[in-house]
Each structure stands twice: as C-alpha cells, then as structure tokens.
Symmetry: C2
DNA sequence: ATCGGTGCAAATTATTTGCAGGAGC
DNA sequence: GCTCCTGCAAATAATTTGCACCGAT
C-alpha cells in the first residue's frame, strides 16, 4: 500500500473549475453564478461532502441557490469528470473531487468516529487484474471499502 | 482467487429457516405464515433478490402479504444473520442468504448484462490485513465490487 | 431576443410507520 | 386473552422534474 502523501503545492495550469467551465461552453451550456459558486465551494470544501452539507455551505456564500440547483450542478460536475459520487453507508450520496492522485482511490470508514480515510494500494490494483483474468472479464472500475476501527479510536485518542 | 465451487449437497442439520424460527422464539416473537413464506421464498429464490422481486415471488405463493411485511421480515432475517443486505448500483437494496462459504464474499457486476458474479479471494483477505496494519486500524468487514464486462458479454455470447 | 437556467413546489422512488383489526401462544 | 403481527395507507427521506419567470450569450 502506498502512503497518502500530499503532492506539491504548485498551482496546476488547468484547475478543475476551468475544466468545468470549458466543458459547459463546449456543449452550449451557460456559466452562471450559481454553478460557479457551487463548483467553487465543492472544490474547496471537505472531501466526501453530502448534498445537504454542500447546500448549506453554498447558501452562506450565495443565498440565491435552491436545493434542485445543487443537485443539477452536481450531476454536471459528475458528467464532466470533476466530481465522483460515493455511497458509503448506503445512505445519502457523498461527492468527492476527482483526481485521486493526491488521495487514495479506496476508503476505510471508521465505524466509531465515522471518519473516512483514503488510501491507495498498488498491490490491490494488480490483484484486480489477476481476478479479472480468472473471471475472463474486463474491469472498468472497483469499489473497495473497508470498515472497522481507526487507529485514533483504538488508542483512545478520540 | 479461489474458484466458487459448490459444496456437497448433504442437507445441513440446521437450516437457515430453523435458525430464523428459533431466533424468533428466543425473543418471544411469533412464527406466522407470512414470515415463513417470505423466509422460504427468500432462501430458495435467486441470490441478490430485490425487495420488489421478493414481494412478487411471495405473492404467488401467498397473496395475503403486504409490501410492509416483506420489509419487516427482511429486517428480521438480517438481524438474525440469515440475510445480508447489499447495495450494488446504489439503487434499491438487494438481499442475499448468508453463508458465503458456497459463494464468494465479493462481487463482480457486469455493466452490460447486469449479472452479478460472486468470487472469493484469499489473496484479498491477506491484503486487507496488510492494509489494516499500515493504517493501524482493525477491519471488521469489507465491501469489494468490481464493475466491468463479463466473459459471456465480451465473447458476444449474450 | 433566444434558449438555457433557476427556484419553488409537486412528483417519484425506496422504505418506514401509525393504526385498527386479526392471529399466535 | 394478551400481545404481537399484518395490511393498508399515510409519512419520510433522498432525489428529480414541471413550469413560469429570469438571465447569459
């Protein structure tokens, strides 16, 4: 398993927000203050944010947004590849910014403190391929979630 | 990955239905024809059945059942460990009979034909533990789903 | 000026719950 | 007979959609 190290802090030439705006423009869709605000708050806020949390956070910046627009914009962000939808405890959806390079693609969910820890595992990537070969299948994506008690909770630090 | 082989066909001494009935009795709950029918149909029907499918199948056997009772009985089956709830495509819940020995505990979902293939992987079990150690966590359960195209679909046999 | 976008409220979907009557023990 | 159970319909919860007006290009 590779540790989750932060990448360099150099600003990338193309931000996810740019990607989103360009994607909209390419298909004749419009840039609106709501879409901008929702995307900006989404990208700078917590990873694994729920719709409710995002809605509340956006309201603080721009009270002129409705729940429906948050849902509609999240769908666009998903479609253009900027956001990824997750369903951890089979409850409401949570969204994370794409670009798992800085983070892992898999998740550990602590059943005590509910924290979500991301990790990456090259061994797992390889194992996927071996399983695919055995099944005669081609794999396009995986979802791995480990549930348990995290280090902090185990050590009583929480 | 271990292949998914069928176990011997010898009838076990205690069936899941017995387990369910005993569990109900132990806590002063009642055995009713609805509960029996729902449990029986659930246990003999398709693995990964949805509530809707189960409801329809039970109706054929006993039209005197309501949707609510199917939900309520599934909850009981879950609580007594006979059924396990899954959420594959983040849509409606699907239930499978517990006792994954005969089947795998992990799932491959074909994105073309929607078939669900179970498999088990000892390598994966070991990898879980290595990941847990790295994270300093203790793992109680995992959810692994691989999505892609299955062999039959790839070979155009479907 | 033209479409697409937005808020709101109503519609949907999956699931749960209140209640009055019915069936186990 | 006392409870627990059931069906039905109404209530939730999460998400989507119809519609009249608004705003970006």
């Amino acid at each position: 398993m590779t540790p989750v190290v932060s990448a360099s802090s150099a600003r990338p030439l193309t931000t996810p927000l740019d990607t989103f705006r360009r994607w909209l423009h390419e298909r004749g869709l419009k840039t609106t203050s709501q879409r901008d605000d929702i995307a900006r708050v989404f990208l700078t806020g917590n990873r694994h944010i729920s719709v409710e949390e995002l809605y509340a956070a956006v309201k603080k910046v721009n009270p002129r947004v409705g729940y429906a627009t948050v849902y509609r914009t999240l769908r666009l962000l998903k479609e253009c590849g900027v956001a990824v939808e997750r369903h951890f405890n089979d409850g409401e959806a949570r969204y994370e910014a794409a670009g798992g390079e800085k983070h892992g693609h898999d998740h550990f969910i602590c059943e005590r403190c509910a924290r979500i820890i991301e990790f990456a595992s090259a061994e797992l990537d390889a194992l996927d391929q071996r399983i695919a070969r055995k099944l005669g299948a081609v794999i396009s994506r995986r979802r791995l979630e480990l549930y348990g008690i995290c280090r902090e909770c185990r050590e009583g630090k929480r």
